[in-house]
């Protein structure tokens, strides 16, 4: 894809709208969500401290963003879409909150994205690239290095974070169809990530990733089911059987 980027927003958010949104988030949406999670998923241990209202920050990141990780804190920043989804059903927002609070932070460790040892794919790429005549690794923080990290270090951490979403996914009720573009099944997204890994590497990488996930107590049951389903849909039966052996 082209590297050019365009402004993430064409609409505007006034100071008054921002203030109203933040007040609603702090007084209503976050308490409602936390109480719902405590009742339905007490094992998560989610509290209000895991969430921070910042309507402006979410707005500026783009349309339909539910949450983003608050630096290297175990905390998700939330805004308008979170408010809308909680009002419809708090269950709709939980997968993305889990993704942002316990997804990437658990997979590679907080603040560790792009570092050596954080992602099998990036480590493999770096070892291979170092043997390529004429290759020089871009300086840390450079656009060239960031591109390598995103291409080869991102897919598996994103796949893991999507797998963490799976047990918490609740499909929209028909009355909430307006939220279809933000509350969607993470299963196909897992398949999409795997497709990118298949395009960039050989099937053995998926097999090794499967073994890594099998040894991980934080993903199991339905999450592993989504992984297996993605393997079966992307590979021939014989190859899929070998990967999942």
């Amino acid at each position: 894809m082209a590297a050019a980027s365009i402004a993430p927003q064409t609409a505007t958010l006034s100071a008054a709208q921002e203030s109203t949104l933040n007040t609603t988030l702090i007084r209503v949406s976050i308490p409602v969500f936390v109480a719902w999670v405590a009742a339905r998923h007490p094992g998560l241990g989610l509290t209000a401290a895991h969430l921070r209202a910042d309507a402006r920050a979410i707005f500026e990141r783009g349309i339909g963003i539910i949450a983003f990780a608050d630096g290297s804190n175990l905390r998700a920043v939330v805004g308008e879409t979170f408010r809308d989804m909680v009002a419809a059903n708090p269950a709709y927002t939980l997968p993305t909150v889990v993704h942002e609070v316990w997804g990437h932070n658990t997979f590679e460790g907080r603040g560790n994205y792009g570092n050596a040892g954080a992602a099998y794919g990036l480590d493999s790429y770096d070892q291979a690239a170092a043997r390529m005549p004429g290759y020089t690794r871009g300086a840390a923080g450079s656009a060239a290095r960031q591109s390598e990290i995103d291409n080869y270090g991102y897919q598996e951490t994103e796949m893991y974070s999507l797998m963490r979403e799976v047990p918490f996914f609740t499909p929209n009720a028909p009355a909430d169809a307006a939220l279809d573009s933000v509350n969607y099944d993470p299963g196909p997204a897992i398949r999409g990530r795997m497709r990118m890994i298949v395009d960039g590497y050989e099937p053995r990488v998926v097999r090794d990733l499967y073994r890594r996930f099998m040894a991980d107590p934080t993903v199991g049951g339905r999450a592993m089911g989504a992984f297996r389903s993605a393997v079966r849909s992307l590979f021939r039966a014989r190859d899929a059987a070998a990967i999942l052996a």
């Binding site: 082209a2 365009i6 949450a67 942002e100 933000v182």
Partner: protein, 145 residues
Amino acid sequence: MKRRRLATLLTLVCLAPTSMSTPADSELSRALTAIHLRAGSPPDLRERDRAPAWLLQHEARAFDEVLGRVLAAPDDAVLVDLLGRYRRAEARPALLCAFDSARAQPYAAVGLAQSPDPAARAALVRLAAEHAEPAARSLAAEQLK
């Protein structure tokens, strides 16, 4: 009476298929998935930000698909925003449908305002004067400034 006519017109235009199949074009499919990433951490955003640029650059491959999806799901604010950025006259009916979605309304209004089609501006004038919701009327009026 005028408002009833406007509502009837929008209802007729917005009757559309409700499900879309995955496009055979895998790059297009990938971009349409990426543009909907809902988690906003930096790597997610970098991937998400590349998608609209690709979709705009590959207009010939993407426009009909985006238009069809907005007609099928006018609440999809992400695609409504993208559709407006194409600045195509054919987008006007879909943007008008999206204007009646609370989630997509601000982006539909911007799309209509950005359109080179005089009929899109005329529609915005009509919405500013005749829409049943005062907030929608003022949003439309704001785009006419």
